[in-house]
Symmetry: C2
Subunit: 372 residues, 2 copies
């Protein structure tokens, strides 16, 4: 069969005492992630279905890196099986980290964003400048209150309002009620000011709920959706990717931290959020910004931004959405640092503005427009 | 509303320099996982929707533990939102680990196994002894070859045959073909020997594929299913839990390692596999056994076994399935250690038996029957 010998490469890092020891470990990972049995038990005609480690590179004291070549036939176009080959069993080995994945292969396997940066910009008629985003919160607030808050944020000109990722379908603000109240609240301001605000309700839930809520969100006039892929399952993104109408998908990192904050376990955050989530279809990727209460370094955040935006095979570009470390008074500095192809997510500190939410939103907008 | 003040507790561990510092961190986690905004920005009437940390306990030098009480209203019966409250954003904080969850609350929220230990025993007519399990592999083998291997394992008397978790829907052995070939292979041996063998094909995939493959598995005469919850999404288990006919669900830890192997990040493995996966409906829980190529200590494995089997609220008991560190020559020792309410998963070393698969399986069975 044509292409049956094609392979794709995944780059792994491990800790080892010597290059020889490293070699042994990479060979073990290559086997673990493919045949998962002792080499002498693999029938000869099936050896072509195993992974093979390329040359070992030393990165630092005791730290080694190697590309492992996997036959495409063991994934065979299945994105979930791809994740399994990538990091299924070896997630359980101490000290294995993935630092790179063949972007060309990803593009062959996965569709990437349907809208991406340009598509979201089109929805807002904002071709150039950085975008503002805030979250409706806290959990416990009823739909009417959330609708009023959304109205005021929109009156201040905010570009995107998302649900807090903790708003699910609680009695205090059931999904359908909430989406109705918030879209109505936003419409009141939009009609008055003429400035568009997009609303992304949180559709995270069981697979059935995710697709139901996506449909409902579209039906009730929401402009996009928020989903936490690690809670709903990364594979739900694939099913969403095929749904109509096309709504932008904003991915939230809830429940994904363990994959990205280990010193030498997991997947490098810039790869996971910036390339893999993008490949799975996230039009915008929320990540915990540096300098706040989370763990990422400034360099990691810059790399996430770069990976979301860079030319990568046939993928549309995704918006990086730094959040969690951004105060209303520090926005200007972050815009200067991260540039205009960024959605800035500011939550708590807008609610703390002495002049109220509308004023806070207007100042936020003004800051972004100053850098246009 | 009745019960509106009810709370559930989650126990967190963190590293801190002093009890005071620890207190501050626990308060921050309580807030992060509920309102997720500065306390002074939370309207007074909504303060009842925030988490609250109880007294801090010192466990060791710099290591502290505290129970955080969360209002049930912020979860409101939603299992996915429960995971979000448990570990959504705080998965991204360095050094936060969950050591316990209120089992009574879990039982109120989640159904637990539909069959459990007793139900799987009934399917095999084996009320007492430990059960044997092996995996069909490697990936690349065609359906006919897999069917022949299954026939031989069954001829040796093996109790359960599962697919390798890397068998998805590849052209080399497409799901439907494979399930048909393997069930037919097993039937040939069963008809000859009268000894029942259960077959659990791997249904891991996108949400749509998972439910389709579950139906297909049942239709084609498979006896149960294998799923990797962390690949498919833990929430897919909830949807499966409502499907007919009732098939036992064996959960595989692929892609879950980052949650459980961090020194002070994630969820204690005995809690995650032994109680949470059980609560989500896993009738049998595969985990990486100690002593092999994976990272768990003997104590951790014993605790996983205990949590799978112990009386926990209204949950049926789950079978622990140690795998990955068990060689065909070491089975006897493991049975003595782990006891009869265990499914022993032995893969690679059975394939290496000089006398062939059937002999290997028969010896495996004999070892378990000796301990009956």
């Amino acid at each position: 069969m044509d292409g049956s010998n094609a392979t794709f490469s995944v780059t792994y890092r491990i800790r080892a005492n010597s290059e020889q020891d490293a070699r042994k470990q990479f060979d073990a990972v290559a086997l673990e992630q493919s045949a998962e049995m002792p080499p002498d038990a693999i029938p000869g005609h099936l050896k072509k279905f195993t992974g093979n480690a390329d040359a070992v590179r030393q990165l630092a004291d005791s730290l080694f890196e190697a590309d492992i070549q996997f036959p495409e036939t063991i994934v065979d176009g299945d994105p979930v099986q791809f994740l399994n080959v990538l990091f299924g069993n070896c997630s359980l080995l101490p000290g294995v980290q993935i630092s790179a994945v063949d972007a060309g292969y990803l593009a062959q396997l996965l569709p990437g964003p349907r809208l991406g940066i340009k598509g979201i910009r089109n929805l807002l008629n904002q071709p150039d400048r950085a975008l503002s985003c805030t979250a409706l919160k806290p959990v416990g607030m009823n739909s009417k209150e959330l609708g009023t808050i959304a109205e005021r944020f929109s009156a201040g000109g905010i570009d995107i309002i998302k649900d807090d990722h903790g708003l699910a379908n609680q009695q205090t603000a059931p999904f359908e009620d909430r989406v109705r109240a918030v879209t109505e609240g936003i419409k009141i301001s939009e009609d008055r000011t003429g400035k568009k605000t997009l609303y992304f309700p949180n559709i995270t839930g069981s697979p059935r709920e995710v697709t139901e809520r996506y449909r409902l969100a579209a039906e009730l006039g929401a402009d996009g959706v928020l989903i936490s892929p690690q809670l709903a399952g990364l594979s739900t993104l694939i099913d969403l990717r095929n749904m109509e109408p096309v709504l932008p998908i904003m991915a939230h990192p809830a429940f994904s931290g363990s994959f990205v904050i280990g010193e030498l376990n997991g997947i490098l955050p810039e790869l996971y959020y910036g390339l893999i989530w993008r490949a799975f279809g996230a039009d915008a990727v929320v990540y915990p910004n540096t300098g706040g209460r989370f763990a990422f370094s400034p360099e990691t955040c810059e790399k996430i931004n770069q990976n979301c935006r860079k030319k990568a095979a046939s993928f549309r570009r995704s918006f990086p959405v730094p959040g969690g470390g951004i105060n209303r008074n520090s926005i200007a500095g972050w815009v200067q640092k991260y540039g205009s192809d960024t959605i800035f997510l500011v939550g708590g500190s807008l609610y703390q503005h002495p002049g109220g939410i509308e004023t806070a939103a207007a100042e936020f907008q003004q800051t972004l427009e100053n850098y246009e």
